[in-house]
Symmetry: C2
C-alpha cells in the first residue's frame, strides 16, 4: 500500500558490553563479535531490518567504531543511508532525538525503527512482522515498543505491562516495571500481561519530537543542533562535539517512555529474541571444531582462536581469546564485571 510510510532503521551501536569479556573489549564491543554464527550481532541487525518497507539503515556509533561499522556493513553487502558518529556517549534519549531529526529531514514522516545493535533474533521474519504490526499505531503518533514474550522469570530485564487493546496485538502501555524481584518476575510470567522490554522503538519523527519537547527539551535541542552542525566526511556525519557535549545523558526509557501518554506495545513478540546480556545467553556454536569437551555437562565454551579442552566439568563458562581466558560457573556470569574492575585496578588497560 502506497500510503504506508517507509520504515527507517536506526541502529544504535554505542554499547560497551563488558559482560562478554574477554571477547568483548572497548575497541571491539559485543555487537561486532560473531557470537551466534558467522555474522556479528551488528551485521545480523542490519540484515534483519531489510525488506520491502525498510529503508537502508542509519547507524549511530562512537568514533572508535567507525571503521568496524563501515567494514562490517560492507562485508554483508549493506550500504548504509548514513553513519552518524557520536563524539561522546550521551545515552539513548539523545540517540532517539538524533534519529528522529535525521529521519524527519530525510523522509518527512517516515517511521523510525530505533534498535540496539547487539541483540540476537532467531526469527527475523517474525520480528519484522511485529514491527509492521505496530506501524499503524506509530503512524498515528504512538511511540511503540516491542514486548517480548518472557521465557523465564528474568530479574535483570525491564518489563512492559499491557493496557487496553489498540489493535490486534497492539496495546496501550499500563506501565514500565524495572528489574523485578524473583517473586514478582514469576507473577509476571504467570499473569501474561507483562513482557520483556526489548529496547526497540518505533515512532514518527514528529511524535518523538513532540514528546522530547514536552519531557526533555534540553536533549531535543542539543541533539537537533548537534545534527544541524554536523560535519560530513566520506559519507560519515559527525555530530558537533561542542554542542553534543552539552546534551544531557538520559535513557529514552527515563526521559520519554515513563512520562509519555503515547506509549504503545506490540505484544507478544515471539521471535527468539535475546539481548545476549551474558555468556549464559549463548547456545553452543554449531560446527565449532576448536573445542574438545570430554565427559562434560552443559558448559558455555567459546573461543576466538585457542583450542579449548575441557574434561569432566559442567555448568561452567569457559571463554578463551589469544590474550585472556575466563572460567566461571554459569550462575556467576554477571560477575564478569568484577574482572573488569580488577583489570582496571591492575592497570591492565590492554585487556579492557
Amino acid at each position: 500500500m502506497n500510503s504506508e510510510p517507509p520504515i527507517q532503521p536506526v541502529i544504535m551501536s554505542g554499547g560497551a558490553g563488558t559482560r562478554l569479556w574477554p571477547m568483548s573489549r572497548q575497541a571491539r564491543p559485543k555487537q561486532f563479535l560473531p557470537l551466534t554464527g558467522e555474522r556479528s550481532l551488528f551485521q545480523e541487525t542490519a540484515l534483519r531490518l531489510s525488506g520491502p518497507r525498510f529503508l537502508a539503515p542509519v547507524v549511530i556509533a562512537g568514533a572508535a567504531h567507525r571503521a568496524a561499522v563501515a567494514g562490517q556493513l560492507d562485508a554483508v553487502g549493506v550500504a548504509p543511508a548514513a553513519i552518524i558518529i557520536e563524539p561522546m556517549a550521551r545515552n539513548t534519549a539523545a540517540v532517539a532525538a538524533v534519529a528522529g531529526a535525521w529521519t524527519g529531514r530525510a523522509h518527512g514522516d517516515g517511521l523510525v525503527l530505533l534498535t540496539p545493535a547487539d541483540h540476537h533474533v532467531a526469527d527475523a521474519g517474525a520480528f519484522r512482522a511485529a514491527i509492521v504490526r505496530g506501524a499503524a499505531a506509530a503512524s498515528k503518533g504512538a511511540i511503540v515498543t516491542l514486548g517480548v514474550r518472557p521465557a523465564t522469570p528474568e530479574t535483570g530485564f525491564g518489563y512492559i505491562e499491557t493496557g487496553a487493546s489498540i489493535a490486534d496485538g497492539v496495546f496501550e502501555v499500563a506501565g514500565f516495571r524495572e528489574k523485578p524481584d524473583r517473586a514478582t518476575a514469576e507473577r509476571y510470567l504467570a499473569g501474561g500481561r507483562h513482557f520483556w522490554n526489548s529496547g526497540v522503538f518505533l515512532f514518527s519523527p514528529s511524535a518523538m519530537d513532540a514528546e522530547l519537547h514536552a519531557h526533555a527539551p534540553a536533549i531535543r535541542n542539543s541533539a537537533a543542533a548537534a545534527l544541524a552542525a554536523a560535519r560530513e566526511s566520506g559519507g560519515v556525519l559527525t555530530l558537533d562535539p561542542a554542542i553534543f557535549a552539552d546534551c544531557p545523558s538520559e535513557s529514552i526509557d527515563y526521559a520519554v517512555m515513563e512520562k509519555t501518554r503515547r506509549a504503545a506495545v506490540v505484544a507478544p513478540v515471539d521471535a527468539g529474541w535475546s539481548d545476549i546480556g551474558s555468556w549464559t545467553a549463548l547456545a553452543p556454536l554449531v560446527g565449532e571444531t576448536r573445542v574438545s569437551a570430554l565427559d562434560c555437562g552443559a558448559n558455555v565454551i567459546r573461543t576466538d582462536g585457542p583450542f579449548v579442552a575441557a574434561i569432566g566439568v559442567s555448568d561452567l563458562i569457559i571463554v578463551a581469546t589469544g590474550d585472556a581466558v575466563l572460567v566461571a560457573p554459569k550462575d556467576r556470569a554477571q560477575d564478569v564485571k568484577r574482572v573488569i574492575d580488577d583489570l582496571k585496578a591492575r592497570g591492565r588497560t590492554d585487556l579492557l
Copy 2:
C-alpha cells in the same frame, strides 16, 4: 678426601611429558618449562648437581631438543661436559649404558649420577647429601637408588623396599614394587620400609657394565658401539643411528635393577622431591600477576601468556597458552592424556 671418586651427572632429557599439556608439547617437553619458578626443571637439575665433587654435566637428549639443551644450559651459566644426542628413543637402559661407557672413557671409575631432567627438588643440598651418602657403596660396586620418603599413599609410583643396612642411611634392596593398589600403598606408608623410586641412579661404570653384560648384553653392546661410532659436531656427540636403532628398548628398572644383586638404596631422602607428574603436583607460582582468582578455592592455575580470570571455582586445573586452554577438575589430572588422543584423532598435530 682425594680418594673419593668424582661424580659425573648424566641428565636424561628424553621425556615427552604429555600430562602437562597444553604447556608441554613434543617440541617443548616439560623439562624445558619454567614450571616451578623462573628456571626450567632441566635448568634446576643441572644447577642442583653442581658443587665440589660434581663434574660438569653430560646431557643425553633427543635431536629435536639439541638447541633447547644448549640454550638453557648457557642461560644459567652451565658449560656441559658433553651433549649426547639419541637419534631415536631407546629407553633408560640404553641411556644408562651410554652414560656408563662415556664416563668410564672420560673419568675411569668416576661415579655416574644418572637423573631424569624433569623432576623438582625443593632442597638441593639435602639431595646432594643423599647422593654423597650413597657414593661409598657405589664405589664398592653397588648400583644405588635414592628412596624418597613417601608423603602420601601414591599409587602411581614404584616403591623400593629396604633390606639389610649397608651403612648409615644406605640399605640393600629387598625388592622393587611397581604401582601398588591403594591399600598396599597405605601399608607401605605406615610400615616405613618402602620408599618412592626417584628414578635417580648412582653407579660406577664398571659395575653397570658388568650388570648389563650379565642381564642385557644386547643393550650394552649396541649402546657401547653406538657411542664408539658417534659423530662429534660443535661439541655435540650424536650416537650412530644405524647401530643405536638396533638397541633393545627397555627401562633400566626392568633390564637391570630387578635382576641385579648389587642394588642398594639411600633412604629416606627428604629433599622435597616431586616428579611433577601432573598439573596437581604444582604449587601456586609466587608473584604470578597474570591470574585473577575471585572468590576461588584451591585451583591450579597456570599461564604462559594469556591473562586468566577465574570466578567462584575450586579444585580446578586451568592452564592457558597462546594456542590452547585446559580446564579440568584436579582429580581428572591424569585424563589429560585423553585430550592428546583426541587431538591426534582430529589431526591437530600442531597442538601436540
